[in-house]
Amino acid sequence: MSAGAPRSLASSGQKSIQDMCHPLSAEESALSPGRAADKDLILPNGTPVDTSSPASSSSLLNRLQLDDDLDGETRDLFVTVDDPKKHVSTMETYITYRVCTKTSRTEFDLPEYLVRRRYQDFDWLRNKLEESQPTHLIPPLPEKFVMKGVVDRFSEEFVETRRKALDKFLKRVADHPVLSFNEHFNAFLSAKDLNKRQGLALLTKMGESVKFVTGGYKPRARPAEFAAMGDYLDLFTPKLGTIDRIAQRIIKEQSEFLMELREYGPVYSSWSSFEEDLHDPLEGVSGCVSNCSSALEELTEDMSEDFLPVLREYVLYIESMKNVLKKRDQVQAEYETKLEAVVFREDKKTPVPTDVEKCQDRVECFNADLKADWDRWENNKRQDFRHLLTGMADKNIQYYEKCLAAWESLIPLLQDKQEAEGETS
């Protein structure tokens, strides 16, 4: 049940992703929660679909997310980041992550690799990619610097959040038809020791390290489609900011609600201590409130760990994208400036310098790459946000389901004595 033609690997002139059938769209209607009647649904890989509960269909979606861009059958490069470990040396303490690669590509010597990399190495890779593939959009890395006093760089939550982001970064690169063939990427995945040329790696600000920047040419009008991209990004950025603020505010309110609940439950317990008949019901209520408190705590932690970081990542992604657009503007500006100079000299009957031709090529290439990357980015964005928001819905559903179970189990306990009373009176 393949959902579309495998993607061609060249970067220019290819069909837009949006014209292809989305891998998930064929199954979309079948996977919507509540369609319990569809007993015959089968996944692409042959396992039957269980649509009886919302939770199961969401985990199903989660599994499919991994196959989002490529059909499962044509993907030939799989990368994961896991197993964070702390390293303590005399000079410094840092975390390394294990990078596992499985591939059938001939560009790699072996089918499998296991290497250890630290954040610095990822940063190096990203800079290298930006340098060597300036016309492409490079996925963002999680924030490099954290305030030492404020955030514990070695706490489980921080490390796990970072690991997930690094994993996502590598997966996005691995899924990119051009970037995944980059030699630096290959080295990153396979080399025992990265021979990093420190000079360029020291540049930390993303997007400004590119040799390619031509700079200094008067900016020209953007072609409509790129102007539309820029406009969209300008409008989208504040929305993301708002969503981030709302999410944070909700977490804060929930935390304060949790604080009150943690005081509320025990009062029922102390009440039960001087009641006879009511002892068990009151204890029951206390236990219930306690269960709900735990469920709420889980919800807020999950949102903090999973939701907020992804939002922030997109802010970085957008910044990246804006910079690539600017670079493109510069390339176009260089070309048009040089072209104008030539045209100005037209009367001298000199042939169009190869210099200008090269510029024209560059512009066309950049535009094509960027357009392809933009389409890919839009697609990813759509899936990422769908995933993010359904994840948020799922977490809330799970929270309410836990509370529901707790209160429902209390009812028979509360009614129990009543029936006994009715018999004896």
Partner: protein
């Protein structure tokens, strides 16, 4: 619910019995005294209205009056629906009624009135007495009060109560004519006085302690619940902001737009749902508040026992001392210090005639004292007996009512969880369509 105790008082039980159900309770209808008024009459507080008028000091004031409707039970069961009798009462009249009952039936745990001013309010809830929600909750509380009194074995047959329900004019004067005020004053004094009782009935001491604990724990519960309600309100309302931003965002998206937009609507619905949720929870808070005030009524009864016990002990003490004086006078020995004794020692003995006169006086006093002790003793016994019966009745009622309250609270929470699941599932469906 079980019947308990003496023949005079029959516990009627559940005030939620329909007229036909209570008719079937043969045992109770046989008993003349203490038959619940509720069997004969339907009572409700149907409406509330604002009035303005001149008060005692001739100043304009706005107050609320409540419509009390009554209708004989038979009339309804015959199939026709006659117009109920009705009259208007304001809160202060309810207070007067309750004070009268407190004084007249000191051995009864008298049902409480709904709170005079809104307390334990959380942020959004108004503390204003004129606020329509507060007035509505008070209307329900007043009706509850009347139903409780009308189903109480002792209180329901009270004439003043009956007149409260049926005679609009002149009721106040009738109440004052009973002279309960005088008793009220002395009762108030007694309640506030501090005295040591040597032999209180252990059960009453325990009950008083229970009343203290119950009051403290319910107060705390209501306080924390109010704060939690505030926070919960915040959580739900902030989700409404998602509605707005999703809507704005959907305007700049192509395929994602529809899913976002509809999800936003669900977020709005989620935010709005908290108002109903918290309104229902107020009902639970009101049920707790009733028992908060009931705890006070319970303590009042225990206090009254202490007072009667104390008066008995005083009478006994007085009698004992008088008997001792008699003995000393008769035998000429002084065992207890008395100024008279000292002065007579210093200034010479009394004459035999004086002694004779004194003895005679003491004898009368002792006779009177013994009568008084007998009286007080039986008063005490009576009080203990009838108070304990009512306390037992109260205990059963409390256990039943609070259990019911907890059950409906759990049901409320279940409903809230189910609504939450539904909204988020709806939102999720929309997100899936993005």
């Amino acid at each position: 619910m079980a019947d308990s105790g003496s023949e005079d008082i029959a516990v009627i039980g559940n005030t939620d019995l329909t007229p036909s159900e209570s008719e079937n309770n043969l045992k109770n209808t046989m008993v003349e005294k203490g038959t619940s008024l509720l069997k004969k009459m339907e009572i409700s507080v149907a409406e509330a209205e604002k009035r303005t008028g001149k008060n005692a000091v001739n100043m304009q004031e706005t107050y609320t009056v409540y419509l009390i409707e009554t209708r004989p039970v038979d009339a309804a069961s015959e199939g026709n629906n006659p117009v109920p009798d009705s009259l208007w009462r304001r809160y202060s009249e309810f207070e007067l009624l309750r004070n009268y009952l407190l004084v007249t039936y000191p051995f009864v745990v008298v049902p409480p009135l709904p709170e005079k001013r809104a307390e334990f309010v959380w942020h959004k809830l108004s503390a204003d007495n004129m606020d329509p929600d507060f007035v509505e909750r008070r209307r329900v509380g007043l009706e509850n009060f009347l139903l409780r009194v009308a189903s109480h074995p002792a209180l329901s047959s009270d004439k003043i109560f009956y007149l409260f329900l049926t005679e609009e004019n002149g009721w106040k004067e009738t109440v004052f004519e009973t002279g309960f005020q005088a008793k009220a004053d002395s009762r108030l004094k007694a309640l506030h006085a501090t005295f040591r009782v040597k032999n209180p009935d252990k059960r009453f001491a325990e009950m008083k302690h229970y009343g203290d604990e119950l009051q403290a724990v319910i107060s705390q519960l209501l306080r924390v619940r109010a704060r939690a309600a505030d926070r919960l309100y915040g959580v739900y309302k902030v989700h409404g902001n998602y509605g707005r931003v999703f809507s704005e965002w959907s305007a700049i998206e192509k395929e994602m737009g529809d899913g976002l937009q509809s999800a936003g609507h669900h977020m709005d619905a989620y935010a709005a749902s908290v108002d109903d949720i918290l309104e229902e929870e107020e009902h639970y808070a009101d049920q707790l508040k009733e028992y908060l005030f009931y705890a006070d009524a319970l303590r009042t009864v225990c206090r009254k026992h202490e007072l009667t016990q104390y008066e008995l002990e005083m009478a006994v003490q007085d009698l004992t001392s008088k008997k001792q004086q008699r003995e000393e006078l008769a035998t000429g020995t002084i065992r207890t210090f008395s100024l008279k004794g000292m002065t007579s020692k210093l200034f010479g003995q009394e004459t035999p005639e004086q002694r004779e006169a004194k003895l005679k006086m003491l004898e009368t006093q002792i006779e009177e004292g013994e009568e008084l002790v007998k009286e007080r003793n039986s008063e005490c016994d009576e009080f203990v007996k009838s108070a304990w019966v009512d306390i037992e009745r109260f205990k059963e009622q409390k256990d039943h009512d609070l259990r019911e309250a907890l059950i409906s609270y759990a049901i409320m929470q279940i409903s809230m969880c189910k609504k939450g699941i539904q909204v988020w599932n709806n939102a999720k469906e929309c997100f899936n369509k993005m």
